[in-house]
């Protein structure tokens, strides 16, 4: 009798363990990025759930964007971003993925754009820890290692355990790029003490052990570094981008980010000053220049050639103006222009 009861207890316990295991497996299958993002923040699943709660579809997607971006899987980032067209983080990674593939201006207005906050995530008292942890990705891609390092430090500050390979890798790499070998060595050592995937990553970046791919990567980033030491505020985005361009006028990504920043903030004077048609081209820029030329009386052949404005864009602009005037600027019947800069310029309103 006693044996039978014991057996029943064992069976119940085994069934419970199986159920817990199965639930865990289902959870992991449904939330693969939650697990990966937790690991990047140095957290076990249990710690991550305690810190962030149970993930929903939106947070799983956001974590997916952060994880795939850290791995620089830009096609995957773009694919994930396509599923989220309502958040600043979604837009931020959508823009970054497009920029990494040379398509930032071409695809900018195909997507929800919350003004400049979709290009550079705001970092401040009201930012969420998740947003702060993502904010440095664009600076690292652009070549500003000081801003990238700042955001990695802030990521560490606001990660639940104040650690995480996501940030430590970035700190190691920004310092390798700037040549601060002492600082880099601290972070490499921490990674060498971590899980195998981090150890391998750090091994490849140890002094004297750089693979050709690592060397190319570091040298590529070094080529983007600014050269002028102009002290700037942390939110002076245009100035930071201009400093990058001052050192490297060929930094196409920085130029596109600057021009898109000008356009999303509707600062057309700044756009005209920053625009160099010989260095970048996009229908978006043509559309913006047409507003400028129309407003300032410069709609002539010389300017159309100078700013590389296609006949098709001009013809479309004329159609937009006709409908706009006909309907008194009400925005009716402008559906075909929804992804143009003209529509954005006249109808986008800040939600603040």
């Amino acid at each position: 009798m006693k044996r039978k009861a014991l057996r029943t207890v064992w069976i119940v316990l085994a069934a419970a363990a199986l159920a817990v295991g199965a639930a865990q497996a289902v959870f992991l299958l449904r939330h693969p990025y939650f697990r990966k993002y937790a690991a990047q923040n140095g957290l076990s699943l249990r710690e991550a759930r305690k810190a962030w709660g149970r993930p929903d579809g939106i947070s799983e997607l956001a974590m997916g964007l952060a994880v795939e971006s850290s791995l620089e899987n830009w096609d995957r980032v773009a694919a994930l971003a396509a599923e989220d067209r309502t958040s600043e983080v979604g837009t931020y990674y959508y823009n970054l993925a497009n920029a990494m593939r040379g398509q930032l201006p071409d695809r900018l207005l195909d997507y929800y754009q919350p003004f400049e906050r979709g290009l550079f995530l705001p970092v401040g008292e009201h930012s969420t820890p998740f947003v702060i942890g993502c904010a440095g990705d664009v600076w690292f891609a652009l070549g500003d290692m000081v801003m990238a390092e700042r955001d990695a430090m802030l990521g560490l500050i606001f990660s639940p355990a104040h650690k995480g390979s996501r940030y430590v890798r970035r700190l190691a790499e920004t310092n390798l790029v700037t040549g601060d070998r002492e600082a880099a060595s601290k972070f490499l050592r921490m990674l060498l003490d971590g899980p195998r995937r981090d150890r391998k990553w750090a091994e490849e970046r140890l002094p004297g052990a750089w693979t050709p791919a690592v060397e190319r990567r570091i040298e590529g980033k070094r080529a983007l570094l600014p050269a002028l030491d102009v002290v700037h505020g942390m939110d002076q985005v245009p100035l930071i981008l201009r400093l990058l361009l001052n050192a490297n006028p060929g930094n196409r990504m920085a130029l596109d980010y600057l021009l898109c920043y000008d356009l999303l903030t509707k600062d057309l004077d700044a756009f005209v000053g920053d625009y160099v048609p010989a260095l970048t081209a996009s229908r978006l820029y043509e559309e913006a220049m047409l507003i400028v030329l129309a407003a300032k009386g410069g709609m002539n052949e010389e300017n159309l050639v100078r700013y590389h404005i296609a006949a098709e864009t001009l013809e479309r602009f004329n159609r937009f103006v006709t409908v706009y005037r006909r309907d008194g600027g009400s925005g009716r019947n402008l559906g075909e222009f929804r992804n143009t800069y003209w529509y954005y310029f006249y109808y986008a309103v800040r939600n603040e």
Binding site: V123, G124, E125, I132, D144, V146, M147, E149, R150, M153, L154, L156, I157, F158, H162, K163, T178, D180, R181, E182, A183, S185, K186, L188, R189, M190, L192, D193, L206, P207, L225, P226, A227, L228, D229, V230, V231, H232, G233, M234, I240, L243
Partner: protein, 482 residues
């Protein structure tokens, strides 16, 4: 059999742990933050006779066997292993045998033998150190705490933290003349204030009146305890895109004020509240009859931040009335030196002034060139500090109560995280080679991602803890100053 199996398993686990400890430390050597054969590098340093054990580890590559023999007088001790970790009793025996003399050390691994030594000063150090633990940040913070460490062992005690204060910002804790019963720090934000510990009582003070630029920022308590001298600053953080300085912080306005803790009054004086001069970092002289502070002509900022240079100035102070007087003496001229001074601190014996010198600016913690400088107050002579300074920022210093030791925060090594270093000052003012605060685990600093901010020495433990601070914040309104 089962018991034997258990013991074997435990032994195997212990062995595994030991093997983990034996693992090679990488990267090390020239160009890394672990350039020496040991970390922390205690070769040729001078330590006080009441210090906790100097635990360290060897950075040498490979998995060799290590043996370290320490000898002083008739005491000799050999410790084996890459990690040199002392038992407290044996360490105390060694220190007692070496007090006022030297400890000879032989480090051996394989065929390699290195002989070195460290000195043990007969001057004890004030046994308590307070510091704020903070991650290098940029206007934001999370999980701050102020800790008090006993330097005679490895005990620490949290005296204020984020748990009891709603995760608010808190600034560093300073003792007055290393007194455990007279000290001050700030809790920022709504409901906060300056936390003054005096006469066995904790008070929360709103050190601000309508004429001030901001609540008080930098400052010090008068030796007699009635007055405090403070700066009031508009502080702007900014970034350096190149040059490794990372963040630059400057003031766009700053004045000096005196707080009367007995009468709850703020006193301002036209001489130290000039619109055309930035005045900051005020402190008292040892006798409390002078104030030292830094002053620079106002400039357009940040455009001319590289030309912003502060001089070291002294003015008379009347301890009876709390008045700052005239004339002002310039002890150290920024224009003559082509550099900028900050953080002056007078030694409690009144003989010396320790301060920081950087190429420019008022926030040198990211200035690699920032070094400590010491002035003999009797002769005005500047004493050599080559033994103390490193190629990274050395700043935020504080004196021991007898003026024979000082502690400072240095970013030597990785350049990012401030660590507390201690320096002995001989009778003639000669500083010894400084040493890093020892820890129970010699690998402690490897994984540490927080800075030890504003380390400050104390003769005795402060009379409060984090719970007291939580209660003060929650239950007591800040006293208003007029």
């Amino acid at each position: 059999m089962n018991r034997v199996g258990g013991w074997l398993l435990a032994a195997a686990l212990l062995l595994l742990c030991a093997c983990g400890r034996m693992a090679e430390v990488r990267p090390v050597g020239e160009g890394t933050d672990r350039p020496s054969l040991m970390y922390p590098d205690y070769r040729d340093v001078t330590v006080p006779c009441n210090l906790a054990p100097l635990n360290f580890y060897y950075t040498a590559p490979g998995r060799g066997r290590f043996a370290t023999t320490f000898s002083a007088g008739d005491v000799s001790c050999t410790l084996r292993g890459r990690e040199v970790v002392w038992k407290e009793r044996r360490w105390k025996e060694l220190l007692a045998a070496a007090a006022g003399g030297e400890v000879s050390v032989v480090s051996r691994t394989g065929d390699v033998e290195v002989r070195w030594a460290f000195r043990v000063s007969a001057d004890p150090i004030d046994p308590y150190l307070t510091y704020r633990l903070i991650e290098p940040g940029f206007e934001v913070w999370d999980d701050l705490e102020i800790v008090e460490r006993c330097l005679e062992n490895f005990d620490t005690r949290v005296i204020s933290d984020w748990r009891h204060t709603g995760n608010r910002c808190m600034n560093c804790h300073i003792h007055s003349r290393a007194r455990g019963d007279l000290s001050l720090f700030y809790l920022r934000g709504e409901g906060g204030g300056a936390i003054l510990q005096r006469d066995g009582k904790l008070r929360k003070l709103a050190l601000r009146d309508s004429s001030m630029i901001s609540p008080t920022v930098y400052g010090e308590i008068h030796p007699e305890g009635r007055y405090g001298i403070f700066s009031t600053n508009t502080i702007i953080p900014a970034m350096h895109p190149v040059g490794g300085r990372r963040m630059e912080v400057y003031d766009t306005a700053s004045d000096l004020v005196v707080a009367d803790f007995d009468a709850n009054r703020m006193l301002t004086f036209p001489e130290t509240a000039r619109a055309d001069v930035f005045e900051t970092f005020p402190v008292f002289s040892a006798d409390g009859r002078w104030i030292y502070y830094c002053a620079a002509p106002v400039r357009p900022l940040p455009a001319e931040v590289a030309q912003l240079r502060y001089s070291l100035v002294r003015r008379p102070f009347d301890p009876a009335t709390g008045a700052i007087g005239s004339p002002a003496d310039t002890l150290w001229s920024a224009s003559a030196r082509g550099a900028s001074v900050c953080h002056p601190k007078a030694s409690p014996d009144g003989r010396r002034l320790l301060y920081t010198v950087a190429d420019y600016g008022t926030f040198p913690i990211n200035h690699r060139e920032c070094d400590l400088e010491m002035m003999d107050l009797e002769t005005g002579e500047i004493l050599p500090m080559d033994a103390v300074n490193a190629d990274r920022s050395d700043t935020y210093h504080s004196w021991s109560s007898d003026g024979r030791w000082f502690v400072f925060a240095s970013k030597r090594g990785d350049g990012l995280y401030g660590r507390p270093w201690f320096c002995h000052v001989a009778e003639d003012g000669t500083p010894a080679r400084p040493f890093l605060l020892p820890q129970a685990d010699p690998h402690f600093y490897d994984a540490m991602l927080r800075s030890f901010n504003v380390p400050d020495l104390g003769k005795a433990p402060v009379g409060f803890d984090a719970e007291d601070i939580g209660r003060l914040l929650r239950d007591v309104p800040a006293e208003v100053f007029e």
